[in-house]
Symmetry: C2
Subunit: 484 residues, 2 copies
């Protein structure tokens, strides 16, 4: 087992089994309504007009997504496993261990999403579940992933998630042992420095390049972490290229906690989003934090549970990075000279007066789902020759400023193109934005890997397909995914 | 557009919109009951006892999975898109095209599953959908994949699927144009020769190594397949390493059609499954084919539609590869000398009298869902020294014989271990089976990539963790996925 004691989990499992399944009853409507109301408070806190068309259904969308993403509170392991235990003869005792009754069974690489209980942002889980059957019974393989999903669809911490999956299976299948390994990726809160120094192409896997943590949990014959059974199990994971190591989960698994730590030490971390802190501005924080508290309650959680006490503050702090401000106000607090010196990426098309910058990272917040989307921006423009050099950092700043608000990718693309065009009096500009949308990934898990590209074209590029093609080709050559 | 005319699709979309959404009404229960009854007929045709515990709920599971997998017949594009069109300003005419109104928007790498209308087996789809907004309206990005899924969740052919997605979006979003590219992978019907010559490790992606086909469909400004817009679109796909080529879909996209072709030419293709043909045996084919016909009808299809006329025969033909036979009967029709000469993969553990064979491919049929699972078998055994050499092909044949029936992976693992142990009078045997289960992948798409490993251990291996570790390590070294 990990950090959590079995007794606690037993009680929890019992409680869960009493909760009725998700329905369309009046309770459900009530909870959804409460969340919608809370989301409206959050939107207003962000300085948004909740009656504008793009935001009109956002409260309902967020409420539905949160209820769906935490439906594990209303699901029951027993119901899932019941009827999926099949008789399967084993070998006689003494001759060995065989699949079916005694042999190890491992389902590897189950992809799940969960919600971080610290900050309410989704995190990605790669789950490996193994068990050794006993009593001449095996469980339907798909049930292992379904049970894992019951616990993933709650507000979680990685170790607790592993422990709950382990105990849930042990209690309901009663095998010789259960072993769970999770590899978890949390969304990073990138700093501007980090973003500028890491101009990779993050759209293939939105979690790519992030440091995952591994957690282990074992019951029965897997309780001893040095047992031969663990060796067999880990060898099977190794076939798939999964390398996991037992390590202690740091307190700072959630980046929002590191931020607190930094703050308490007096070193304010200037983050990607213009270094705004909660102490500035006239925003109604208590109302926003209360709203998050009421969301937690509506999801079936106890907002006074010790792990959740600071969650409203952390979530509001994250959200406030995307407060609506005019460009002027934003620039006011943002010193472009402070930002990182750019790496100019001039691309030659055998044409003069062309400038391009590729793979500039950005972060934004989807206004339809209040969830992050992030990726890279590529910019190319023709100019009259009066521009000697253009700092990458200047272009990067414009990208950030438009990213730091509730957005849709199409608008972001257009705004960047328009702004650059008007600042530099350009003859033509082309902007390509590539992004992964957490809303598409965590809500419909089947869309993992999907990502969106948008193009804005102005001036000379409109009439010049060859210039467009040359720029697109340059982007293609710059990415690591070519030839995959 | 592709092969299908727009008028036909319009009619179809209209028809679909009249069908009520999936409910739990009496119609739904009726359809499910009809499918369950048909599945019982198929199981009996396979020589199975439908009252045995492992099969008791198989009819219900298959019925639910088929209804779920074809729910697109009862869904409506208009309902999905309605309320998800958002106002987004574009640039003035004449200055260019920008994201939001005029700029290209592409959602790449949407993973879908569909059912092949030729043979009723699932096929995998990687879908790329693009459109150019007009009328200052953009559609919520997730709707592009949801609409694609409506058409994927029907019995399909790749080109028709692409055309239906294209027309569905064009009619309901009314943009300047829609472009759809699909890359589709059909489950192969492997031959014994092919399997033996291709001893790769297929569990990472069950479709890996199979030849996909690409299909294109365009409307509006994408109707001309040589347009600049297509160039921009394909360049965006290239960033992701997606390489697609326009090619004509061959009649033989579905392997069941190649089989027919071969048969009609008098060259019977001896397939993986012992070369049994439909003409042999006392099985009640007409009843089985009628059963498949009634399934098609219950899913909302017209079994007399020309593409479906031969589907019952093809599906039954596939299924009969897994007819229940005793080992003796199976061996009777199977000439081991004919099979491919093996590549012996002896592994040295600094111990004598050890033999191992790695990565022997197998195909089987999940008895819980009537869907294929396939992968590789690794065998290692200790013997008394009396065995000079063991043909890989002999071991491969044993693997095939146990694969060719309704199975669960745990049982398959045990049966292979027991059979080899008793034939060779072994001192110890260890069998590892790694498999991808189509039932887990196509039913719960979120489980793409997950796969299952099972171990059976007999005799000396039980008491010797070091021998187990050495064998597992040898498997690990043999796979291509190490160090990923």
């Amino acid at each position: 087992m990990g950090a959590l004691d079995v007794e606690h989990l037993d009680t929890e499992l019992e409680t869960v089994s009493k909760i009725v399944p998700v329905g369309l009853g009046s309770d459900e409507t009530l909870e959804t309504g409460t969340i919608e109301e809370a989301v409206r408070v959050l939107l207003q806190g962000l300085g948004e007009d909740v009656t504008r068309e793009g935001l009109l259904k956002t409260p309902l969308r967020v409420a539905k997504a949160l209820r769906e993403g935490t439906k594990g509170y209303r699901q029951n392991v027993k119901d899932i496993v019941e009827g999926a235990l099949f008789p399967e003869a084993g070998l006689d005792n003494g001759t060995g261990l065989a699949g079916g009754a005694g042999g190890l069974v491992v389902v590897r690489e189950i992809n799940l999403f969960s919600y971080c209980e610290c900050c309410l942002l989704p995190f990605k889980v790669q789950c490996h579940v193994g068990y050794i059957p006993s009593g001449q019974r095996v469980v339907g393989l798909s049930k292992l992933s379904r049970v894992a999903d019951v616990f993933a669809k709650r507000l979680q911490d990685p170790q607790r998630l592993a422990d709950e999956i382990c105990v849930g299976l042990q209690d309901n299948i009663k095998p010789m042992g259960v072993a769970v390994v999770l590899v978890c990726w949390h969304i990073k809160y990138p700093t501007l420095e980090e973003a500028s120094h890491n101009p990779t192409h993050p759209t293939k896997d939105p979690m790519q390049g992030w440091d995952p943590i591994s957690v282990f949990s074992g019951s029965g014959v897997f309780e001893n972490e040095n047992s031969d059974d663990w060796d067999d199990y880990l060898a099977l994971l190794k076939f798939q290229g999964v390398k996991v190591e037992r390590n202690t989960v740091e307190q700072s698994w959630c980046p929002s906690r590191s931020l607190e730590f930094t703050l308490s030490n007096g070193h304010f971390m200037k983050n990607l989003f213009n270094g705004r802190s909660l102490s500035k501005g006239p925003t109604n924080y208590p109302a926003m934090m209360n709203a998050v508290g009421s969301i937690l309650h509506s999801l079936g959680e106890d907002p006074s549970r010790k792990e959740l006490v600071n969650t409203p503050q952390r979530f509001v702090q994250w959200l406030m990075n995307f407060k609506k401000l005019t460009l002027e106000k934003k620039c006011n607090g943002f010193n472009l000279k402070d930002s990182v010196e750019g790496i100019n990426g001039n691309v030659s098309y055998n044409q003069k007066k062309v400038h391009s910058e590729l793979n500039m990272p950005f972060w934004s917040q989807c206004e339809h789902h209040l969830l992050p989307f992030h990726g890279v921006v590529h910019i190319c423009f023709f100019h009259g020759g009066e521009l000697e050099t253009v700092d990458r950092s200047f272009l990067q700043s414009i990208v950030h400023l438009y990213g730091c608000q509730l957005q849709v990718q199409e608008r972001l693309t257009r705004q960047i193109a328009e702004t650059i065009s008007s600042i530099f009096h350009l003859l033509g500009v082309m902007v390509v934005v590539e992004a992964s949308h957490i809303c598409m990934i965590s809500r419909g898990i089947e869309k993992v890997g999907s990502n969106t590209a948008t193009i804005a074209v102005m001036g000379q590029f409109s009439a010049d397909p060859k210039a467009r093609a040359a720029f697109l080709d340059a982007i293609s050559s710059s990415t690591a995914f070519q030839g995959q």
